[in-house]
């Protein structure tokens, strides 16, 4: 039974990342101690806990830290007056910190992929996506998803999300595990139909889950001839 050990592996990896993040935040703290240089602490401060958005941006600055305004801002007040502190050391330390942060971000990415692979292995994985084309006759408000008569997802779409779908975005509304065999997917779409009327429609599909991952797409399209929206489920082989 390999399944119980997988979450453990994930936990261990999370810990490893946390340690690395801790190390990244500890280095600037060490830098502060000897000469209490406020500028040096201002540059790498704090962001070890928010790696994806924040740490991603300083990484390229760290890679070319000498010429960048970000790097000079952080180091020049401490470097130019030079009250007994070598600027080269600070720069090297800064680079190390930035490299560490980049490593944390990269590790986080890898961990995310690994986590998905462990929690949703390809042989049982089922993913359901939603896409929308044109959308002249239907404004999506909510979606309820049932697999084998069990409700697995219920999603309310905000106007922004619906707009993103109209612009070509695809939303993964469900990711789960299913046994090999035949299953039934039922999707209920709610929203505003033609002439701003409340509109509720369903679509269903019987599909065969094989040994590989299964991807299903809920498609909302406009049927121009009838002036009505059309709801269908596509099975990606």
């Amino acid at each position: 039974m390999p399944t119980p050990t997988k979450p453990m592996a994930v936990k261990l990896l999370v810990r490893a990342v946390a340690w690395l993040a801790l190390a990244a935040s500890a280095v600037p703290a060490l830098a502060q101690d000897p000469q209490a240089a406020p500028a040096a602490s201002a540059a790498p401060a704090a962001d070890a806990t928010a790696p994806p958005a924040d740490a991603a941006t300083p990484a390229p600055a760290g890679a070319s830290i000498v010429g960048t305004p970000q790097g000079t801002e952080a180091t020049s007040p401490a470097a130019e007056p030079a009250p007994g502190e070598p600027p080269a050391d600070t720069r090297a330390l800064d680079e190390t910190v930035q490299d560490l942060k980049k490593d944390v971000v990269d590790l986080n990415k890898e961990l995310f992929v690994l986590e998905e692979e462990l929690l949703f292995p390809a042989n049982t994985q089922v993913a359901v996506f939603v896409s929308m084309d044109i959308g002249e006759f239907f404004a999506l408000d909510s979606l309820t998803l049932k697999i084998d008569n069990k409700e697995v997802a219920n999603y309310l779409y905000t106007p922004r999300e619906a707009e993103a779908l109209l612009k070509g975005g695809v939303h993964r509304v469900y990711l789960g595990n299913l046994k090999v065999g035949e299953h039934q997917l039922v999707a209920f779409f709610e929203g505003k139909g033609p002439n701003e009327r409340d509109y509720k429609r369903g679509a269903n599909l019987k599909f065969e889950k094989g040994v590989g991952a299964k991807y299903l797409e809920l498609k909302i399209t406009d049927r121009q001839r009838k002036g009505q929206p059309e709801f269908s489920i596509k099975d990606w082989e």
Partner: protein, 154 residues
């Protein structure tokens, strides 16, 4: 007393953690999602149609929202009643400009550890829950302003 202590502990347990996502339908029929306001300071006020203090708190938050909206403050009111009709009636008679959400998912109260109303939480620009206040007294408005100004200045 023990229950109060437990509730206080619960409140602090959420502070400093990422705010649970929350989506519900507004009075105008549009859905509002808290996580869509990342980058803004978001005040989420939980209210009930049976609670008069909630009305006072919502009015206070409306005044604050009008002043600080341009600085990046968003206020969202979330109803936790089972009785949607009562909630709608309450919301329609409340003269506030920010969205009042009704029919929130059943797990909302649990996710945010709401054990009484009114209760409000403050979510910072990075989506972390930074403060929580239970109940409301007139003098709390000044406290909210002071606290929110600090968050807005971060």
């Amino acid at each position: 007393m023990l229950a109060f202590a437990a509730a206080a502990a619960e409140k602090y347990a959420l502070v400093g953690k990422p705010a649970p996502d929350l989506v519900a339908r507004g009075l105008d029929g549009e859905n509002v999602r808290v996580s869509e306001h990342r980058g803004e300071i978001v005040v989420v006020s939980f209210w009930s149609g049976r609670c008069n203090t909630c009305r006072e708190q919502l009015a206070a938050l409306d005044r604050i929202a009008k002043t600080y909206a341009s600085a990046g403050l968003t206020v969202i009111g979330v109803n936790l009643d089972d009785d949607i009709v009562r909630a709608e009636k309450f919301a329609r008679t409340s003269d506030v400009q920010f969205p009042l959400l009704i029919s929130a998912p059943a797990n909302t109260g649990r996710d945010y550890a709401v054990d009484r109303v009114p209760m409000l939480v403050v979510v910072d620009r990075s989506g972390v829950l930074r403060a929580a206040h239970r109940e409301f007294r007139a003098r709390d408005e000044a406290t909210y302003v002071r606290e929110l100004r600090a968050f807005l200045n971060e």
